[in-house]
C-alpha cells in the first residue's frame, strides 16, 4: 500500500514536469487575453475601446474639462509642426517616407516592433532617429521637442486604427517581451512601487489629485500634451517621470529597459484604437 502511494506520487511529480516547462516560456497571446480580461472583470462598466481615454473613464477626473479642451486641443501645434518636419526634405532629397512602410502614414500602431537584424525592440522614436542617421542627420532627444512633434503627426495619421504589436516567435523577441513584462511588474525605488502598483492594482483610484489611468490602453494616447509639462511628450518621457516619482533613478531614454517596457505594455493593448496625441493634466 505504502509502495503504491510512493509510485503514484512519483508518477504525479514526473507527469507535472512537462506541464510546468510548457507554461514557463513567454506566451504573449495568453498574457494579452488575461490582461484585457482582468480589466474587463474589474471595471466592467468601461467599454474596451474607451480604455484609451485613461483616467477620464472615472468620476472626478475632469472629464468635462477634457472634452472642452479637445475642441481646441493643445497638441494641435505639435501636429502642425510634425507635419512640416515629416514633409521637409533631408539634405539628400529624401524624406521620412523613405524609411517607413506605407510611407509612414497610419503605421504608429505597429510600434514598438522587433527588429530581427539587430535583435532589439524599435520604438517609433528610435525608428525616426535611425532614419535621420541613415540620411546624414543627427539623432533627436527621444522625450520631447521635435521628436514628440513628429511622433504626434505620425500618430494622428493612425488614429482609430488598432494597435497591432507583433511579438514574433524569435527567442530574442520573446526575451525582450519578457524583460518588459518583468520591468512592468517589478517594484523599484525607495517607495517600492511597480508600474502595476498604480496602473493595475490601483487603476481608477486617486493618487492625491490625480486619477490613475489603467494600464490597458494607456499607451494609445501618446504622445501626450500634459498641462504639468506645458508641452507634448513621448511615452518614454512618462516612464522617466514615473521612475522619478517612486524615488528611482531613471534609465536612459533609448535604453533596452524602456524599449522592452514599451513593447510589453503596448502589446497588452493590442486591438484597441490609436487615440494619440492626447491631453492629460
Amino acid at each position: 500500500m505504502r509502495i503504491g502511494l510512493v509510485v503514484l506520487a512519483l508518477l504525479a511529480a514526473f507527469s507535472a514536469v512537462p506541464v510546468a516547462l510548457a507554461g514557463a516560456g513567454p506566451d504573449p497571446a495568453a498574457d494579452i487575453k488575461a490582461f484585457q480580461g482582468h480589466f474587463r472583470t474589474e471595471l466592467p462598466a468601461i467599454p474596451l475601446a474607451a480604455y484609451v481615454n485613461g483616467p477620464y473613464n472615472f468620476p472626478g477626473s475632469g472629464r468635462a474639462q477634457w472634452k472642452q479642451i479637445t475642441e481646441f486641443p493643445p497638441y494641435s501645434f505639435a501636429i502642425d509642426s510634425g507635419k512640416v518636419l515629416f514633409e521637409t526634405k533631408f539634405p539628400n532629397g529624401k524624406t521620412y517616407t523613405s524609411c517607413f512602410s506605407e510611407g509612414g502614414i497610419g503605421i504608429a500602431g505597429n510600434y514598438p516592433m522587433f527588429d530581427p537584424k539587430t535583435g532589439r525592440v524599435v520604438t517609433l522614436g528610435v525608428a525616426i532617429n535611425r532614419c535621420r542617421v541613415a540620411n546624414g542627420l543627427k539623432k533627436w532627444p527621444l522625450t520631447k521637442g521635435k521628436m514628440a512633434d513628429l511622433v504626434a503627426y505620425m500618430t494622428v495619421t493612425s488614429r482609430g486604427r488598432p494597435i497591432d504589436v507583433v511579438v514574433p516567435n524569435d527567442p530574442r523577441a520573446l526575451a525582450a517581451y519578457e524583460a518588459g513584462k518583468e520591468y512592468f511588474y517589478s517594484r523599484r525605488g525607495q517607495l517600492n512601487f511597480s508600474c502595476a502598483s498604480c496602473h493595475v492594482q490601483a487603476a481608477g483610484k486617486r493618487l492625491r489629485g490625480n486619477v490613475l489611468a489603467p494600464a490597458l490602453g494607456i499607451t494609445a494616447s501618446f504622445p501626450l500634451y500634459r498641462s504639468k509639462w506645458g508641452s507634448i511628450g513621448t511615452l518614454v518621457r512618462r516612464f522617466i517621470g514615473c521612475n522619478k516619482k517612486v524615488g528611482s533613478v531613471p534609465d536612459k531614454p533609448d535604453s533596452a529597459a524602456y524599449r522592452d517596457l514599451a513593447y510589453f505594455l503596448t502589446a497588452m493593448s493590442n486591438g484597441l484604437p490609436i487615440a494619440g496625441p492626447g491631453s492629460r493634466p
Partner: protein, 103 residues
C-alpha cells in the same frame, strides 16, 4: 575622597566619542566613499538606483572636499546602506514580480 561631580563624569564619558570624531581622516573618508561607490555600481547594474542613495553620496563627496571627513564618512555610510537596500529589493523582485503579474 570626594565623589566626582556629575558634570565631570558626563564629560569624561563623552571623551572617547570626541576622540573618534577627531580621528576622521581624509584617507578614511575616501575609503568610505570608495566602499559606497562599489555598492552604488552594483545597484546600477541591477537597474535599481535610488535618488536618496545618490543624494547621500553627493553629500559625502561634498563634505570630503570641504575637509569635513567625519561628515563624509557618515554620509558615505548612509549611501552604502541605501544602496544595500536597493540591491536587496532588486534581488527580491527577481522572483516576487511574478506574484504581481496578471494571469
Amino acid at each position: 575622597m570626594k565623589p566626582l561631580p556629575l558634570v565631570l563624569i558626563a564629560g569624561l564619558a563623552l571623551l572617547p566619542a570626541a576622540a573618534l570624531a577627531g580621528d576622521a581622516t581624509s584617507a578614511g573618508a575616501q575609503q568610505a566613499i570608495a566602499a559606497a561607490e562599489a555598492k552604488i555600481s552594483a545597484a546600477a547594474a541591477m537597474q535599481n538606483q535610488w535618488f536618496a542613495t545618490m543624494a547621500a553620496f553627493r553629500a559625502a563627496k561634498a563634505a570630503e572636499r570641504k575637509g569635513d571627513y567625519a561628515a563624509a564618512e557618515a554620509a558615505a555610510a548612509e549611501a552604502g546602506k541605501l544602496a544595500d537596500l536597493s540591491i536587496a529589493q532588486a534581488r527580491r523582485q527577481k522572483a516576487l514580480w511574478q506574484s504581481e503579474a496578471v494571469r
